[in-house]
Symmetry: C2
Subunit: 231 residues, 2 copies
């Protein structure tokens, strides 16, 4: 992607952008841990491990959670939780619940810019199942919100989702790579109209429309949203 300066509307956002990326080694370890937790999560959807093994894993996990809590910094996360407000496709999205490589709840969805569109892929594991063998419709909607949110941010006037409409055409299969595509249809005053599709192979699984409203992100407070850790 192009290394251009962020346009003027994002000036205030710079307060959210950390001056330094996380340490490479620590970040790499974090991403490895998140990937392993995704595997455990999918494994838990169908397993017959003995109770004692699950208890041992739970105890170890509880101890590690406490350890993490003690290292809490209270500063803003690296990067952004979602693409829409960043206005900068160079930003790290490690923590997004959809894109976040460092977030075990993220599939993760992968999105990138192709010309004036956003393209993306995801492989949804069994932890995202709704109808048997297929992706939960709610997760399809969530992924569309992210894809449309990214493409509307490319207008240089990023907004928050005003209305999201998803039309489900066919059930979306688990375990195979499915493809998202999103584009901006038009901009009308403070409203940005975006649309998107989701395909599995040649099958159109779902379509979406989003109306985004240009937002003054300065109204979001930038101080820590929870007390700092005890460590």
């Amino acid at each position: 992607m192009e290394e251009t300066e962020a346009p003027e509307p994002f000036a205030r956002l710079s307060t959210w952008i950390p001056n330094e990326a996380p340490p490479e080694g620590q970040r790499a370890a974090l991403l490895r841990l998140a990937a392993a937790m995704r595997k455990i999560t999918e494994g838990l959807m169908d397993m017959d491990a003995p109770e004692a093994d699950l208890i041992a894993a739970a105890e170890a996990s509880e101890r590690f959670a406490e350890h993490l809590e003690a290292t809490r910094t209270g500063r803003r996360s690296w990067g952004f939780g979602e693409t829409s407000p960043s206005g900068d496709t160079r930003a790290l999205f490690d923590h997004s619940p959809l894109l976040g490589m460092a977030n075990p709840v993220a599939p993760p969805l992968k999105l990138w810019v192709e010309g004036d569109a956003v393209a993306g892929t995801a492989v949804f594991g069994k932890q995202y199942e709704g109808p048997p063998g297929h992706v939960h419709g709610g997760l399809v909607a969530a992924a569309f919100d992210e894809a449309l949110g990214m493409v509307q941010a490319m207008t240089g006037q990023p907004g928050m989702t005003g209305t999201l409409t998803v039309r489900y055409r066919r059930p979306t299969p688990l375990h195979i790579e499915v493809r998202f595509r999103a584009r901006v249809e038009r901009v009308d005053g403070r409203k940005i109209f975006a649309s998107g599709t989701l395909h599995a192979g040649e099958t159109l699984c779902a379509e979406a429309e989003g109306v985004f409203i240009m937002t003054d992100y300065g109204r979001f407070r930038v101080e820590p949203d929870r007390p700092a850790g005890k460590g």
Copy 2:
């Protein structure tokens, strides 16, 4: 909730309903592990643990994921991934990506029946963040899909989501209990129209409408959707 017989349209669904609930001890351990993994996940959103600790946790997690994989049964999960197709509010939803107490990616959302409506609550942690301090809009949409899906199933003619529309009124805060409410507006042929609201305190954060299409769930295959484990 009432212990009535499932109505006729659900007869075919009985093939998905296991004859026995999971062992109480194993299930309790599973839920405890899932809860601990949620804590780790939220902890990972803001931490400064040393690289070595993260690597050790990743290695332990990778080993445990392999162990789980070796115990894979290949049979259908207990319960359903989402409420819509179950047609039975007694079903276990341990594995739902929204409701699932056994699914670490689930917040979890809690839903219950109140008269002819569905009510629910959730506390979204930092792993669901979109705009700073607030819930990612995609997760709001996902939760609505689940709440509307449950209320439309109460008609006795459960359907799959045809169209979901979410209107975002105010950003939804993280870390506090937010409240969902859903009801059926009308049934028209094979279409069920449902609506819902999301409040934080007195603030209306979002509204949703869903059109559900009565579905022959028999078209979903009931055999395992992945090869059985090697264990």
